[in-house]
């Protein structure tokens, strides 16, 4: 089923991606990630001593601070923090630095749809920039189901508002992995809004995974040239 999106993209087409790392000077790692007009800035402060009270001291803990554009921090922001926390806890190798806290601060610069996937991508790039050991990278994508039961990827804010349902999918960025079950485990299958039947869910995951191929290539390409940069500032 053909579908015309307002900005002329095909249903499987992503918006132009832009990523820059080491944008901040005080933070140990920082990155901005832009998908079309949606732009997020993430900063990472490397392992700091101590964990919070209800955290397991045997493992490193991740602390996420989500900063919205305007207004006070509300429920939605807390929800995003929780989701990001779970996602990154599955990515970081937590047994290396027990009893420490790594903070990830996410600042929304502009929200034009698919905010959470953009934030996940930005935070992942910032973690790499900080030199935090990760199991694998995370790539996130947003799929939405429109009124006429068409699945589109990377919706803009307009499309999101009109969509019947949408889901954010996070996939690990392993080297060409052929095993489908393993990939499904990684990263929580985070927020899903609206009603998504199992059929569409399957279709979404397939398409999502295919697109994340492209996203992960972009991410890898971005990480390469910066490897010669100065050693991590966590010292």
């Amino acid at each position: 089923m053909e579908m015309d999106r307002p900005d002329g993209r095909s249903p499987n087409q992503l918006r132009p991606l832009a990523c820059s790392r080491s944008v901040l000077h005080r933070a140990h790692g920082s990155a901005t990630w832009a998908q079309g007009e949606t732009k997020v800035l993430a900063a990472v402060y490397g392992p700091k001593a101590g964990t919070k009270k209800n955290e397991n001291p045997e493992k490193a803990s991740i602390e996420i601070i989500w900063k919205p554009n305007t207004g006070h921090i509300g429920q939605a922001d807390r929800e995003y923090e929780m989701i990001l926390k779970k996602t990154f806890e599955s990515i970081c190798i937590r047994t290396i630095y027990p009893n420490t806290t790594t903070s990830i601060v996410v600042q929304v610069v502009h929200d034009d749809g698919a905010l959470l996937p953009c934030a996940i991508n930005a935070a992942c790039a910032a973690l790499v920039d900080a030199g935090i050991p990760l199991r694998h990278l995370a790539v996130a994508i947003c799929c939405s189901v429109t009124d006429n039961n068409c699945i589109i990827l990377d919706p803009s804010k307009q499309e999101e508002e009109k969509a019947k349902a949408f889901a954010y999918l996070v996939f690990p960025n392993t080297t060409v992995s052929v095993v489908p079950e393993k990939s499904l485990q990684a990263g929580s299958d985070p927020m899903a809004h609206g009603i998504i039947t199992s059929v569409t869910h399957g279709a979404m995951s397939e398409r999502g995974r295919a697109t994340t191929q492209r996203l992960s290539e972009f991410l890898r390409k971005n990480m390469e040239p910066k490897s010669t940069r100065e050693a991590s500032k966590a010292g």
């Binding site: 900005d7 005080r26 600042q107």
Partner: protein, 450 residues
């Protein structure tokens, strides 16, 4: 959390001594003179009223938003302005999330005092219905990177965002004239705030040696200095606010000297801010024109409208290569067909809202005259007919039908000024480029003009 303090940076004794002794010979660690500002860079975001300022390594982001609220009882005819400062934990490891700390509140107060006491923003124009509805302007300042002198950077960011903020226009309607109708930006052009002058904050740092005064201190210098003063002045030399939060005592002679210095620096800053805002406004206006023209005719006028905007850059180019350049250029708003955009990551997508954009003619007309200038006609008259038409054919085939239909409907209710301007442009370009292709749509729009 005490853990946070344990992780924060401390100045070593060697560094402290070095900074002080270097200042005795008028040299600062980053090579500046004691009274030099760092490099200032002002960038604007997609939204009206969002600005990002970089002062050396310090980075501050500012957003302005507006809401309709009830006014304060003692000021029923005035709108309100409130500043919210957020010391984001990403700026400094010692910044904690949650309630703003003392320095955050102080920063907010300095900026607020500079704007409010001096009446830089005209709050009476923000009143819609006396004692019932007024605009409340809210400025959110996010500190992203703390490399010293947050006050000055945050002040510039707040000013830049207030200058580029546009609030929706509203009018009174209804039976008793008490109903307020807020017009969305597509219907009526949003209005800028009325700003009388720009209060610029200038921060001085004092050291244990009385004669050492430093402007725009960096993070290291801030840890060494024993006293500070922030003077907020405007370009006319009016002192809007002075803040001296404790610290070392300073003689009045030094204070007067500093105020004179601040006057000079304020003038500089004001000029820089105004320049940056001007540039941004012109770009914005140019973009709006492109959007307008492209909403009338999809391929032809779309490309050529953007041609008009890029006149300066593409003047010397050949026609065929010009079209290629336009396709690949990031700034143009030309539509890309899906067949050609295999390199999807680099291709630029037109904004969905742009097609439906039918703005007021007031902001559009002055610039449309510039676009329809002789330059455009002359350069286009020299165009070959074959190559452009071929390219446009292939592009048009793969275009979806929808936008063209939209175009027809849109052109009908437009003001005469708008249609004449656009079809005038369309006529010049169409006549120069494609005499052979007589499509119904073009006939329709040219008939409108006639």
């Amino acid at each position: 959390m005490e853990q946070r303090l344990a992780n924060c940076w401390r100045l070593t004794v060697n560094e402290k001594k070095f900074i002080e002794s270097a200042l005795l010979s008028d040299v600062r660690v980053d090579g500046r003179g004691p009274l030099d500002y760092r490099k200032l860079n002002i960038k604007f975001g997609k939204n009206d009223g969002s600005a990002e300022v970089q002062l050396g390594e310090t980075r501050v982001m500012s957003y302005v938003s507006a809401q309709l609220v009830q006014p304060y009882r003692d000021r029923p005819n005035e709108g309100t302005l409130s500043i919210f400062t957020e010391f984001s934990p990403m700026a400094d490891p010692s910044f904690e999330p949650g309630r703003p700390g003392e320095s955050a509140v102080e920063l907010g107060r300095i900026i607020d005092r500079g704007l409010r006491e001096s009446r830089a923003i005209d709050t009476e124009s923000l009143c819609i219905l006396s004692a019932k509805l007024v605009w409340a302007i809210r400025v959110d300042i996010h500190i992203l990177d703390n490399a010293g002198n947050l006050v000055d950077a945050a002040n510039i960011a707040a000013l830049a965002s207030l200058l580029t903020f546009r609030r929706p226009e509203c009018s009174l309607g209804g039976e008793d004239g008490q109903q307020v109708v807020v017009h969305p930006p597509e219907v009526r052009e949003p209005l800028p705030l009325i700003i009388h002058h720009l209060p610029v904050a200038v921060t001085f740092g004092y050291f244990s040696n009385e004669n050492l005064v430093v402007l725009d201190p960096t993070y290291h210098e801030e840890a060494v200095m024993t006293g500070r003063m922030t003077a907020t002045l405007n370009a006319n030399g009016d002192v809007c606010a002075i803040q001296k939060p404790g610290g070392q005592e300073i003689s009045h002679r030094v204070i007067m000297h500093c105020l004179r210095l601040a006057h000079v620096k304020a003038g500089d800053m004001t000029a820089k801010i105004k320049d940056a805002v001007e540039k941004h406004n012109t770009e914005r206006a140019l973009q709006k024109i492109k959007r307008h023209s492209s909403s009338v005719a999809v391929d032809v006028c779309g490309t050529t409208a953007s041609l008009g905007g890029k006149q300066n850059q593409s003047d010397g180019d050949k026609e065929g290569s010009r079209l290629d350049q336009l396709k690949l250029k990031d700034e143009t708003k030309s539509m890309e067909c899906d067949a050609t955009s295999s390199a999807q990551v680099q291709s630029n997508k037109k904004d969905g809202s742009s097609k439906n954009f039918v703005g007021g003619p007031s902001s559009w007309d002055p610039y449309s005259d510039c676009v329809n200038s002789d330059l455009l006609k002359a350069s286009l008259a020299s165009r070959g007919h074959s190559t452009p038409s071929k390219k446009k054919d292939s592009r048009r085939e793969t275009k979806p039908e929808e936008p063209q239909n939209e175009v027809k409907i849109d052109s009908a209710p437009m003001d005469t000024a708008l249609t004449s301007g656009q079809s005038n442009e369309g006529k010049t370009l169409k006549d120069a480029v494609k005499p052979k292709h007589k499509r119904k749509k073009k006939k329709g729009s040219s008939n409108n003009a006639n």
